[in-house]
């Protein structure tokens, strides 16, 4: 930098630091203000349609009656929370929907899983994925997700994967297994 004095360099550092700090501060404020609303929006636009797909025959509002349980802690010691959407009939919970995550070909796959109190898998619905369009994305189709219907959560899952989309199919299986694992482990709290 031709002709830059020490004064100039210090000035650059100070200005950049100040701008960076102001940017960080304003973003963390915005994040704090919008956090709750964003969660509500995600529930409304991502989870709600999936919940309605996997649960049937309830007379309550599973979204309104949702409860949050702690299923463990991450490496930083923060609690990992799981939202449970209960389906009730005359006040009695007979099934729940919960979301499991699995690792697919293109990243994390989120699957909403409906589980009955008697331990049957009701239905599944993919909430989020980044699989290859037209290949891995076929795991979101009913021809695959319907295979999970009426399986028992006590036994190991046996489904035919989508041909050509082995990783994606495994990702969905992993997500379903995670959700089932939660149900088995936290049965008392969930039902």
């Amino acid at each position: 930098m031709g002709g830059a004095t020490v004064r100039d360099i210090i000035r650059m550092i100070v200005v950049l630091t100040l701008i960076g700090a102001a940017s960080g501060l304003s973003l963390s404020l915005t994040h704090r203000v919008t956090k709750e609303r964003i969660e509500v929006q995600i529930i409304k636009f991502v989870q709600e349609p999936a919940v309605k797909e996997v649960l049937t025959g309830y007379d309550n509002d599973p979204i309104l009656d949702r409860k949050t349980i702690v299923v463990g802690t991450d490496e930083r010691g923060n609690a990992i929370e799981l939202i449970i959407f209960p389906a009730k009939k005359q006040g009695e919970t007979f099934a729940v929907a919960l979301e499991g995550k699995g690792k697919g070909f293109g990243g994390s796959i989120g699957v909403m899983v409906g589980v009955g109190k008697d331990g049957t898998l009701l239905d599944i619905s993919i909430t989020s994925h980044s699989e290859t369009p037209g290949v891995g994305s076929r795991v979101t189709e009913a021809s695959f997700t319907d295979e999970f219907k009426d399986l028992s959560i006590e036994e190991e899952l046996e489904v035919d994967g989508v041909s050509g989309a082995t990783y994606s199919s495994k990702g969905v299986m992993g997500a379903v297994n995670q959700a089932i694992g939660y149900v088995a482990k936290f049965r008392e709290e969930i039902f």
Partner: protein, 203 residues
Amino acid sequence: MSLRHEFTKGFWEIVPPFRLVLGLCPTLAVTTSAINGIAMGLATTFVLIFSNLLVSLLRRFIPIQVRIASFIVIIASFVVMAELLMQAYFYPLYKALGIFVPLIVVNCIILGRAEAFASKNNPIISLADGLGIGLGFTISLFVLGCIRELLGSGTILGFQCMWSSFEPFSFMLKPPGAFVALGILLALMNLISQYQAKKGGAK
């Protein structure tokens, strides 16, 4: 240099995607429907107004050697803010625009206005410039979105506009359709400009 001119120049004279041919990535990618075009345009306008204002306010404070880095930090902050606000209030639109919302950071229009205009002018004029260019960009995206939506799905803003036996050209919703629509619009604009210039010359 009048305030009025700084505001209105963005609508025709230097309307971003057509005259400056800047910001083509969002222009081509998100204009599959009119509403997506408006949403992208308004998000960009939001960022443009505030980045222009801030860059202009800080123009004497930012050393010339680190100006680009400072501009980018300022722009990126407003983009993330826009992203969070969209997620909180317009979630379906945020989903539809996807990766193109964070990509506003690298939209040349915004850095271009910061560097070429806001860093040399006072805040009020810069604000007018940002608003004008932003709205010009929004209108361009809306027009392009309308054309592609009308021909590609037979609707405008979701309302059925074509006769019932109309077969939509799905070609228009694909990237090549975007180029074709953009090219035709550019040609039309040049035709009008040429005509105007001729008329002006005859006077």
